[in-house]
Subunit: 74 residues, 2 copies
Amino acid sequence: MILSIVREREAEMCESNVYIEKDGREELYLENVDILKPEEGRIYMRNLFGEQKYFEGSIKEISLIKHRIILKKD
Amino acid sequence: MILSIVREREAEMCESNVYIEKDGREELYLENVDILKPEEGRIYMRNLFGEQKYFEGSIKEISLIKHRIILKKD
């Protein structure tokens, strides 16, 4: 029982939030992102709830432990 | 107590393994990766144990729920 709770939390909590770096600040762009895929000049992303977005730019940095993905305009 | 175990597992389990796509197969390149940072033509990565690697190529796809990051040669 406890193990199943742990497993559930794991699966839920391992997604990250995507932020856009803009003028030295980071703005939240999409929460709970599971899939991230660079395409030509843009980044496709999809979150746990099936919401999909494209951002024109590239990946700056990913920190999985902090659950943060930073994107930037090129 | 249980909450603290859950928190610990969360922090431990949210890193991903990095694989290289090669001839249609995926080869494990670095386990337990926390930080990933694209630089000019290469990907810097660091895992939970402080091990660091550079891969000459780019990110193909990230699936955080599956704990998989796929890189490819350009």
